[in-house]
Structures are given as C-alpha cells and as structure tokens.
Subunit: 380 residues, 3 copies
C-alpha cells in the first residue's frame, strides 16, 4: 500500500513508548469502546465518535489487524472485536505496534488495566513503571498522617516506589494547572498545605489532591529522586481545563530546576506543542512528545509532529502513545508516529535537504534512542 | 480548471450557512468596499486591502461572476461592480454561493442591510433569524426599566423575539471577553449589574452593554430558551481584543451548561481554532466553525479547516461564511469552505485512508447536516 | 538543484533585512558556534545542536559556501570554518545572503560584533542603525541623573542617537513582558519609576532596566520620535519568558498609539505569528515578520511564513533575519525567507490563483519594498 511505504529506517524501528497506560484486560463493549476511543466523555445526540479522524483510522488501520477488510463499518468492527475477545485483541494490537519497551503509568485506572509486567508479556516488550506522584500522595493521605509527618512520609513512600520505576509523573495540570511556583516550597509551607488538605478529606471519599503547593512539592520530590519527571501538559478530557495546561506556565519552575539536571518530560502538549518545543530547545533538561494527539488526530498527526520539530531538537523529541484502555490506541499511536516521522523525513531525503543517514539517526533518536538515554533503560 | 475540480459530493453540496449577516442592499463605493472586505478598519498609507489573500481571491474568483476575466485589477473590479449595480451584484453572488439555508444575525448593521427574508429571496434559499442577545438587552435598556424589572423584561423580550428565530448570539467576546463566570448569576446580581449599567447610560447615546455579569445572564437566558447559543470567538476587528477571545476562557461556563444540553456554537475561533476543536470534542453540547477566517485566509483556508478537524468530530464542525455587507464574502466563504473540505477529503480518498462514502458523509454533515440537526431546521 | 529552483522574482530579489545584529568580527570556536546557532543556551548531555533543523541546514546549505560538499559532518564544517577564518567566513555568507540593505540593532553584544558600518562594507550593502531603547536608558542611568532629570535626559539622548538611526527597538518582552499599560505614563509616574530603579542600582553592576512603566515610557519616546518602533515579540532564549511575549498583550498599547501613526514593527512573533498577523491586519500602523524563527525552523520556515500570510496584508509583512554573531544566520535567514516565499507564491501561480505579476509584487513588497517605505530608506 502506497501510504505505508515507509522509509526503511522508520518501518523497521522498534519503538520505545515512554508514556502509556495499561489496557483493559478483558472484553470491552461498544459504549465503553467509544468512551475510551477519544477524550470525549459523552457523545452528542445524533453523532458518533467514529465520525472523527480517530474513528476513520480505526476502521482503516485496525480492522485488518482483526482480519477484517479496511473500512468496515463501526458496527462490524465492534462486533468482530467481541468475537475475537479482549485477550486476543490486546495481543494482536500490542504486538503489531512494534514497540520494544514500554513505560507504563500506573497511577490511574486501577485493577481493570493490565500491570506493566503483563503489558510487557502481551506486547513482547520490556516494560517499566512510571509512578504517579499524586497517587502516592493520596495513598499516604489515606493513612492519615499528621500534617507535620506528611512531607517525609511522601518522600519515603516515593523512594520506595521509585526503586522499581524509571520515572515519575505529575498531573498538576489536571488538578491545579501548570503555574507551579518557581521556588521550592519550604517545609513549613508543605506542612501548612498538608494541614489544609488532610483536614478537608471526607472519610467517605478517596483523597483527591488539588493544591498547587503540594503539586510543586511532589514535582520537586521527583527532581530530587533524579528520575525523569513527566508532566501531563495540554490536551486531555473535559476535566483538563486546557487554559491552565499551557507548558509556558511552567517556565519559572523549569528555570528553577534547570541546574538540578533531572530531565523533565512534557507529555502530549497539543495544541501548545510549539510552545513545548521552544522549552525543549532553550532548557537543557526539557523533553517533549505529542502522544495522545497522535492517535486522536490520526491522518493529521504528521502535521503536529512537523510543527513540533520546528524548534524541538531531535535529541529532545520522543515517542509516546499515551494509549489507555484500548490496545488500538497503542497501535495507532505507533502507526501515526511512524507515518508522521516518515512524512517529515522522506521529502527531505528526496530533495537532498538531508541524507538518508541523517533520517536514520533522527528516526532512531526520536523513536527509541532518546528514551533509552534519558530513562537509562540500558541500566535497568 | 484544475483547482476547482472538486469531489462530486463537495461540488454538489447545497450548504447551510449557520452564521452570516445581511448584505448592503444598494451600491457600495470603493472606500466602503475596501473597508468591508477584511477586518482592517483603516488601511495603512502606501498599502491596499487588495494586497492580501482576501484581495487576490476577489480578483481571481469574484471577477468571473461579474463577467470579467480572472485577475483583473482592483480598479477594474470595483468599476465593474458599480456598472452591474448593487442589487444585481447581490443576486449573482448569493446565488452562486450554492447555499440552501441561511441563519442571519440581525443584531448589527441596521437598516442598510437586507433582512433575513430578503436575503432568502435574493439567495433563493430558506432564511432564518439569529437574535443577538446584547441587542435585545440594549433595546430593553433604552426603554428605561427599573433595575429590578430589567432581568424579567429581557427574558420576556427574548422569548418574544425567539419565536421567529432559530438561535441567539452573544458578543461578550467583543465587550468584556469570554471569561464568563461559571455560575449562573443570581437575580440580585443581575439587578445590581443592571443598576450600574442603566444608571450609567447617557441620554444622548444608544446604550451599549459591556458587563460580564449581564453577558453571562444573557447567555444563560439563551440556554434556558433551548435555542443554540452562538458566541463570537477569536478573530474580529480591532475592537475585538483577541487576547480575551480565546474559547478556553469559556471552559468553566461550558462545564456549567453541559447538563442543560443546549447547543453552544463557537463561531470563527481563529487563531484559536484548535482550542475550539478540543472543546467540541470533549463537551457534548459544543460545536465549532471557522467562518470569517475562511474568506480572509482564502487560499490558506484549507489549512485552517484541516487543523480544526484534527480534534473536532465531524458531527460538531459546521459551515458559516460570517459574510457581512458584501455578498462576495458569502460567496467566497462558501467557495473556500468547499475547496478546504475537498483538500481535506480528497487525498484521503485517493490514498485509501477513507472511502468516498465516508467523504460524502463528512461533507454532508459539516456542510449542511449538522446545522439542520442542531438548529432543527426541518421543524421550522 | 530542484529545491532551489526559485521563481525568478524571488531568486533575483535583493532583500532589505529590517532587523539583524552584527556578526562576530574574528574567529569563533566550536563551543561558541554551537551556542550562537540556536536559542539553546546550554546543550543537554548526549545531544548536539546540530541535531535540529537549524543544524541540518548548516550542513546542507552553508557547507557549499565554504567550498565543502553538502551534508559534511558537523566536525568537518566547524574545522573548515576555522581554516577559512572568521573574516572571510563573514564576507562569504553576508554577500551570499543577497541583501541590499541592513538595519542593525546595536543594543546588544558590544564590541565583539561588527558595527553597522562594517556590516555594510562586508555585506556590500547599505547599513542603518536601530537604536535599542533600553540600552540608551541604561547608559543614561549609569551617569546617575536625579530621578527628576531622568525622563528628559533619556529623551535628549534618544533624539541625539536617533539622528543616525532609522528605527528604535524595545526589549520590554524580555524584561517585563508585553503587557504595557495602554495610557502614556505621566511625568510623575516616570519620575517615580526612575527613582525606584536608580536607587536600586548596584554600583558594581551595569544598570539593567526591567520596569513596565519605564519600558512604556521608552516605547512612547519612540512613537514621539516618529521612527518605526521595533518590539521583540515571542521567541527568544530561555530568558525570554515566552508566556509574557504574546503580541496580543500589546493590544491596548497599540490601540493607544494608532492615532500617532508611527509604525510599530513586531519582530519574530513565533509561535504567536498568527496573533501578530491579526494585529497587522486590524491596526494600520502594525507590521510583522518571522525573523529568527526562519533560520531556526529551516526547512519548516515556509509553513511559518504561510501561516503568517493568512491574515497579514502583503504590505505589512517584512523580511528580517535576526542574525546575531554568526553570518550563517544572516545567510540562512535570507535563504529560508526566499524559499518560503517561493513555496507560498509558486503553487498559486501554477494553479492560476494569482498571476506571476502578483507574485512579483508580493515578493518585492515583503522582501524589500515595505521596509524601504516604512523606514524611509530612500530618504536616508
């Protein structure tokens, strides 16, 4: 097929997915499939989530993986998915993604999702854990420490969890926005913020952190651990409040943490991916991807990747799928990343703008090498 | 001509223009023509508005409609326009637009513009009215109600006006910005805001509303009516203050109104069209267009449309021209929308990314079907 | 070479670079070369600045100017640069840029950079000076005037400096952001701000201005002088704080200065170039460029230029390289501007969207004519 006639160095590249989630371990019905396919929570009357670039890509590219003709109807696709069964669906897509290593965020989705270890087995890949900072803080909070104990308890728990992880992740963007204070919160500030939070927790509900001081404290904990600190940035579901998710809001904090040298990984970034690419150019410790946008924008993912590479150095741009729940998303994330990279690199090779060797190096760095280096995956 | 060799499903599509204004009923001189062609109020010394993509499109695509060769000079074009006469110019362009239904905002421009009914006659289309919320509030204010009466008087007037309308429109973006408070203003807040405003109105001038509480009140009135609520978003003239016109500022208000289910139509959106598309994906009641940008960006409209369709579901994206004053704008809006849709759909058909049937469905939904469904035009 | 087969009107165009800096007069080592090539201050471990579109362009397009094959390695390139020597390197690239006139910002970089006069000699071009407003204020401050004298002293010094200049430049974006107050600061406000600043200056350090009132005062001084006032906007190094560099923050100030008619030149603008283009469309005194972004984005510069021309009238868009230190940047700025213009104009000519004569006029205006008119270069 013409459209998949990729450069050899792109087609053959075994990717490192530096940020994804587990898939649902068992069967998924139509309603759940639609709700997991894009970031739309609820679908408007008279519309379907299949009427989108994401939906077209499922019918075009996922159908053949399940033995169907390309372009089958949504109904046929979902029916076939049920026949094949969740376990086999997971196996087919995760293997077809061509991923050598996965970094799996375990902070959301709970027991229905496969663990990193299971993800690795099913995908025939090495799998690593990304620990979600807020999840650890909420776990500690549920144990009712005193406000004075809270900071140390979180640090201790994080150190423990981090032993088996390659990175940590902040969802400050979802909870309070990315305008983290530049200065490291003092111990007294952490205690005061912990007091406010802990005393407000309702016994009947799981603790939910949304306090700028504590998000900043957690992010600094990540910096101190020396493991790459991932940030959700930009695009997400209706809870995300995109207006406070612009990575430029993080500028002061990035300036404050540059000297520490701990890598900061800006995830997703869409539609602020050019802003994120700027940060990746000017701050030595900042890295970017456009995961999540890739499988949502589908056919248009190439445009998003190209815009990001205007300023993002090739040593600072990474692949992630941000796949969650459905293995189609891990597969499509990888597919659109490869196609976007090909669409970026091939015309340059053809026109003599750069050499095939350059393309090979850029493909390797962005698709796998940067993640290997930054997460030190060869030392795991 | 190669460039107009559109997909059949696009070329033959009778559009629904879900947001436009009337055209000037009589002749328009050169100065007025230039001032209406783009959003530039005044043109810089040594330049002309024809030196723009909008101007090139007039010379290329409008000239033949008036019987001229493509690419005639601006002078020849304007001279020919005068010869043909305003009435006939309106007739030719409005019919050439290929629009089946028009939703006409009657809130601005007054008596020189054709009414919705006249627009429909000239265009050989069904025409519907969009009532401007602020215009109704200003009309009520001019009658000097007491602050206590103001809210009810506005509601009553709106209900009356809405009987003959298919939607309402807010220009909060122009007057106070889009950061509407999420919570519905209380009766006391509306009265207090009305008091401040009504007492400040100068007897010598027409009342002009610019109060965030009252804009929010009006938008909620629209929600309560159940008619689609249009918002001017982003791009406009020098009065617009684009910095407070980002649709993301509306996020809290959209979250608060989601449960009501009344459709919210984000108009124009440029250069925040990706932000708007995100809102259309994640909120079930939100819809977007890129009207106004289409005829200003001309040859580049296709790029803007493609960017919007990265996240906007095909069931949530609509056509509008936002044509105002000059029928060329209604015509060019339709022309560039068709061409942009073609540029988006055709390569996908050719490459086997989606089928011609998919393209047909997407063209129908975005060009007409979504508007028919959301505004319930078949029930009018 | 196919990719440089430019339209004749673009290839033959002698450009006016309306904003650049001097180049280093003598030799430049590898470390300095890398630090000057992009806006990255420091390069991340395991990466090189050559792994970027800017780096690929040096190896592809600059290597032949030094007599090397295209695509040589970074090591070979830098070694060859050393052999040729800084003086000859400057001569080759500045002449190869094909620039007829240069407007050189003298406010930063000091004695190591060539003066405007020397730049002109080396480039075989006419050279003009752009006076940096903050540099003049800092020079005056270093002479320890009283706060009451400060405003008049600055005005007098600016008038003196401006006699030999064609424009002035503000770096408010770097120091305090672009949210200048709309109203002109009163004399008392200027004195009060000068007092705060002057009393805070440490005897051991050069004065550094970062006070919104004084930046606004300086910008108004520029308006009063009647010379075009350049603003750094958007993209810059890690000090820039991109979040406060959006040109929309300047909207109120632009509205306040429109009546004066003094041209305001928004420089760089990336990634806010569409916002800047909007301002150029709606305010008669506003002009834009995408300098700096051009040589950083390299192969992608064409996309940035095309986006800007969606709204920017052709009479309001200019060429600048923003080259600083390395003459490669002046050369690449010109190369990518020409290629971007060609990529924008040629398909339109080929498809009959506009005529070759239109393309010729657009190329002349944007590449040279607008700058000649706005800076009145024919009267210098």
């Amino acid at each position: 097929m013409t459209s998949m006639n990729l450069l050899g160095c792109v087609a053959g590249l075994r990717l490192v997915d530096h940020h994804c989630h587990g898939v649902v371990g068992d069967d998924v019905g139509r309603a759940e499939f639609e709700s997991l396919l894009t970031e739309a929570g609820e679908v408007a009357v008279g519309t379907t989530v299949f009427d989108s670039l994401a939906g077209l890509a499922v019918r075009r590219w996922c159908a053949p993986v399940l033995g169907l003709a390309a372009h089958v109807s949504a109904d046929e696709y979902v029916a076939r998915r049920g026949e094949v069964g969740g376990v086999e669906v997971n196996r087919r897509f995760l293997r077809a993604a061509g991923v050598a290593e996965l970094c799996v965020d375990t902070g959301y989705g709970g027991g229905r999702l496969l663990s990193p270890a299971r993800m690795g087995e099913v995908a025939e890949a090495r799998a690593h854990e990304i620990v979600r900072l807020e999840q650890v803080a909420e776990e500690v909070a549920a144990e009712r420490p005193s406000p004075e104990e809270f900071g140390d308890a979180v640090r201790a728990r994080l150190t423990e969890r981090a032993e088996h992880a390659v990175g940590v992740k902040s969802v400050a963007a979802y909870r309070a926005g990315l305008a983290l204070p530049a200065a490291r919160p003092s111990g007294a500030e952490v205690t005061a913020a912990a007091r406010r939070w802990l005393y407000s927790i309702n016994d009947d509900a799981a603790p939910r952190l949304a306090d700028m001081t504590l998000h900043a404290f957690l992010a600094w904990c990540g910096v101190d651990l020396g493991l790459p600190v991932q940030f959700h940035v930009g695009y997400g579901d209706a809870d995300a409040d995109l207006g406070r998710g612009d990575p430029l809001l993080l500028t002061g904090w990035l300036r404050a943490t540059a000297a520490a040298g701990t890598p900061v990984m800006l995830l997703h970034n869409y539609p602020f991916h050019r802003n994120a690419a700027y940060l990746a150019q000017v701050f030595p410790h900042v890295y970017v991807d456009v995961g999540l946008a890739t499988h949502n924008a589908g056919y248009r993912a190439a445009a998003v990747i190209a815009e990001t590479l205007e300023l993002a150095p090739f040593g600072k741009f990474l692949f992630s799928s941000d796949g969650f729940g459905l293995p189609e998303l891990h597969y499509l994330g990888a597919l659109w990343f490869r196609r976007g990279l090909d669409a970026f690199l091939r015309p340059g090779v053809d026109a003599g703008e750069w050499t095939y060797g350059d393309a090979e190096r850029i493909a390797y760095l962005t698709g796998a090498g940067n993640a290997r280096r930054v997460y030190r995956l060869d030392q795991v």
